[in-house]
């Protein structure tokens, strides 16, 4: 055979999922009858046919080396016929047809440092962004925050002892690649100073009309600086979203002393019981304090503990707070209520108390 160069391939799309499905899953696809939770991190799904597939779920740091991925592949070969999947929250799941292999797999995962859990009324793994590992606009690091918070709530991952599921997310700027805006607890990196305009490079690297249009509050105005086209920022109108920096690299936002974290609570995406809702501001600012971010960790643990103690069974964080009222949430957590907690952007008035229903 001659060594003909292979034709260049494009637009082939992802591999078809069917070739990665466990034979039992392929056989019972769309024919599942019910499931049972055998232990934290372990599900059994039962098909109409009577077949059973067992899932063992483990937490991962999301950032994975090829060495670790190969280790996961080896574990899959050893325990689950080579079949595995990942969840939307960066957990790893092995799919087993033999219940006798559940316990040995669990033990091996734990021994290798991968906690088994994250199901039902546990804290699952944290959805997060890239942070200092790979992002230009991040106000903080995401992986580090996740590691510190999960270290602190580790037992809540491996046990299912909360009133309901609890979902945490971390985003390192307002772009929210981690979509923290609908999480039970959200940690959000924030900038607090306007962009530092680099007038020298701006005319070369940015398109001024696009830059002006990028500002949600119209704070960016055209300006001539030393005879060159540039912009000025009405600083009182800037709410530090960083959108201008995304369209123009000459508007950097990063500031080691003023960047930090805010904490948001009570969001959910599930439709169960109450409608999906946004997370609301709990703490407007905490310092960026690597490598262990003690202020952030302490605040998250506080929210989790107070929620665990006071919420009723099935109540998500947001549902619990709606029942007891926000004033009591602030009293129970000891978090200070400040002027920053009152919305003053679009639709702000919808959040003002428009009844005399006050809890005393």
């Amino acid at each position: 055979m001659s060594s003909m160069p292979q034709p260049r391939l494009t637009d082939i799309g992802p591999p078809h999922y069917e070739k990665y499905l466990h034979p039992l899953i392929k056989k019972n696809y769309g024919q599942w009858r019910y499931h049972e939770n055998l232990a934290p991190g372990v599900y059994c799904h039962v098909a109409e046919s009577g077949d059973r597939i067992y899932t063992v779920r483990a937490g991962t740091p999301r950032l994975l080396s090829v060495q670790t991925l190969r280790r996961f592949a080896d574990l899959a070969d050893k325990y689950s016929g080579g079949y595995l999947r990942f969840t939307s929250r960066n957990n790893l799941e092995f799919l087993l047809d033999d219940p006798a292999r559940i316990e040995p797999l669990k033990q091996e995962l734990i021994a290798r440092g991968y906690p088994v859990g994250g199901t039902n009324n546990a804290i699952s793994n944290i959805v997060h962004t890239q942070g200092w590992i790979h992002c230009h606009s991040s106000a903080t690091d995401a992986s580090g925050l996740v590691k510190c918070v999960m270290d602190a709530v580790y037992e809540r991952f491996t046990h299912e002892d909360l009133p309901a599921k609890l979902r945490i997310a971390v985003a390192c700027c307002l772009n929210m690649c981690g979509a923290v805006h609908c999480s039970d607890i959200a940690i959000l990196g924030v900038h607090r100073l306007p962009p530092k305009i680099q007038h020298g490079t701006l005319p070369r690297v940015c398109e001024v009309p696009t830059l002006i249009a990028s500002c949600p509050t119209g704070a960016i105005r055209p300006a001539t600086v030393e005879g060159k086209n540039s912009v000025s920022v009405v600083e009182q109108q800037c709410m530090y979203c960083g959108n201008c920096y995304t369209v123009c690299p000459a508007m950097p936002m990063n500031d080691a002393d003023n960047d930090g974290l805010s904490i948001w609570v009570g969001g959910k995406v599930s439709n169960a019981r109450s409608a999906p809702k946004f997370s609301k501001l709990a703490i407007p600012f905490l310092p960026n304090n690597p490598p262990r971010w003690p202020e952030v960790v302490e605040s998250v643990v506080k929210i989790v503990d107070v929620y665990a103690k006071h919420a009723r069974k099935y109540e998500r964080v947001g549902e619990w707070i709606e029942r007891i009222g926000w004033p009591r949430f602030f009293r129970l957590t000891g978090f200070e209520f400040t002027r920053y907690h009152i919305d003053d952007f679009k639709h702000a008035a919808l959040t003002y108390a428009r009844s005399a229903h006050v809890r005393y």
């Binding site: 260049r8 637009d11 799309g13 992802p14 591999p15 078809h16 999922y17 990665y20 899953i25 599942w32 799904h45 991962t60 999301r62 950032l63 080396s65 090829v66 060495q67 996961f72 592949a73 080896d74 899959a76 079949y83 595995l84 999947r85 990942f86 939307s88 960066n90 991968y114 890239q130 200092w132 590992i133 992986s143 590691k147 580790y154 991952f157 929210m176 690649c177 979509a179 609908c182 696009t210 249009a213 990028s214 500002c215 979203c241 690299p249 990063n254 080691a256 995406v269 599930s270 439709n271 169960a272 409608a275 999906p276 946004f278 690597p290 490598p291 262990r292 069974k313 099935y314 679009k346």
Partner: protein
């Protein structure tokens, strides 16, 4: 190299504690990869200075694609040459994030040859992320991936890589085949994914039931959320079993039903199904006794997004119910009309949801030729400033 440049005292702190450590992962890759070594050193500097060291993205990619690669350059490339160019490839994940050990090893082998050996499984939108390639490695990596059956996902103002929940593969609540729909839509819009044609990004997520395990309502411009139209299926003896095993059905199920459509008299559970809002709570609590109905499909919702720029939005109802078997055809027609309207009326960097806020849902519905229905709103308007169409073209 001076000693202090190889020390990572701050990051070493993150090897401690019970949760698996991403620092260990970088160190593991660093044993064979110079770029992972420099990532570690640059990250230590970021931890020391409390500041990121990545420059704004640049225009890099693979031949013929305008998406799928995120350009990334270090602002300290002289100090850390291994990350001077450290681009990301977004690899379109298999639907439902299912893999075999063999598939994972194939990706690992390719990535070890061409990049840092670091990955994310997965990125926030759903792609398998290969983190850290030099510009010259992008095309060879892409072609090796393609020969192995993988393609790149979306980035920039493109149709972003759709994702879906586990659906019918392992969930009894799937109201439509989310993995198939996700795959079929991905294949239908390869051009829009790889050659960004839009005013801004467009995300689509398929959740097979209202529990919405992929956060479709919050994270997708077009959210396809499975539901059913007829009665919840009840296995009465299984309900009785739950009660006899100690479940307080009145308190834990009926009292928490948002529309109070259920009644438990101590022996029998009655459901007023036309009052059910399909929230899933009762089914979640009693999976052996209750199941979604037989007439299954999805509600199609539009406009969800994170804050940039005018504020976060949840998707809202566009089509209250589409039968499962009609989903693909209905969506293709709907997506065509939505994209046409957005193409014509959307501003640069304006997501669909923000455009609808700006032009108003009624004008958007006119534009895509959809009749208004009460399911689209939580309540009718309460303000009398109505833009009456009397006297306008076409108004009787």
């Amino acid at each position: 190299m001076p000693d202090d440049e190889t020390k990572t005292e701050l990051l070493d702190e993150l090897e401690k504690g019970p949760w698996p450590s991403f620092v260990k992962e970088i160190k593991s890759a660093a044993q064979t990869s110079a770029s992972a070594q420099d990532l570690l050193r640059q990250l230590e500097l970021s931890y020391r200075e409390k500041k990121g060291h990545w420059k704004h993205g640049g225009l890099v990619g693979v031949l013929g694609y305008g998406g799928g690669v995120i350009g990334r350059y270090s602002d300290a490339g002289d100090q850390f040459p291994g990350v001077a160019q450290f681009h990301t490839l977004r690899v379109n994940q298999p639907a439902g994030w299912f893999y075999t050990s063999e598939a994972l090893r194939t990706i690992c082998d390719i990535w070890e040859r061409h990049g840092s050996g670091l990955t994310n499984l997965h990125g926030s939108t759903g792609d398998l992320i290969l983190l850290g390639a030099r510009s010259a490695e992008l095309e060879p990596t892409f072609q090796e991936l393609a020969q192995a059956g993988f393609d790149l996902g979306g980035s920039g103002s493109s149709f972003r890589t759709p994702s879906c929940c586990v659906g019918m593969a392992r969930c009894e609540w799937a109201c439509y085949d989310a993995m198939k729909l996700c795959y079929d839509l991905t294949m239908a819009y390869q051009d829009e994914m790889h050659r960004p044609p839009f005013p801004y990004k467009f995300k689509l997520k398929c959740a097979a039931c209202p529990n919405d395990c992929v956060a479709a309502i919050a994270r997708a411009d077009l959210s396809i959320i499975g539901t059913w139209k007829d009665s919840i299926q009840v296995d009465e003896s299984a309900v009785t079993n739950y009660a006899s095993e100690g479940l307080n059905i009145q308190k834990e199920v009926c009292d928490l039903c948002p529309s109070k459509c259920m009644d438990w008299d101590g022996r029998k559970l009655s459901i007023e199904d036309h009052e059910c809002v399909h929230c899933m709570h009762c089914i979640n609590v009693m999976p052996k006794a209750l199941r979604p109905g037989m007439e299954r499909g999805a509600v199609i919702m539009i406009g969800g997004k994170a804050p940039i720029m005018q504020g976060a939005l949840l998707s809202s109802v566009l089509v209250p119910f589409v039968p499962a078997e009609e989903l693909m055809d209905t969506l293709k027609e709907l997506i065509r009309r939505v994209w046409d309207f957005w193409d014509e009326h959307g501003n640069s960097r304006e997501r669909i949801g923000e455009m609808i806020q700006r032009v108003g849902l009624p004008a958007f519905l006119d534009g895509i030729g959809l009749d208004p229905v009460p399911e689209m709103v939580s309540e009718p308007r309460d303000n009398p400033y109505i833009f009456y169409q009397a006297g306008k073209d076409g108004e009787k």
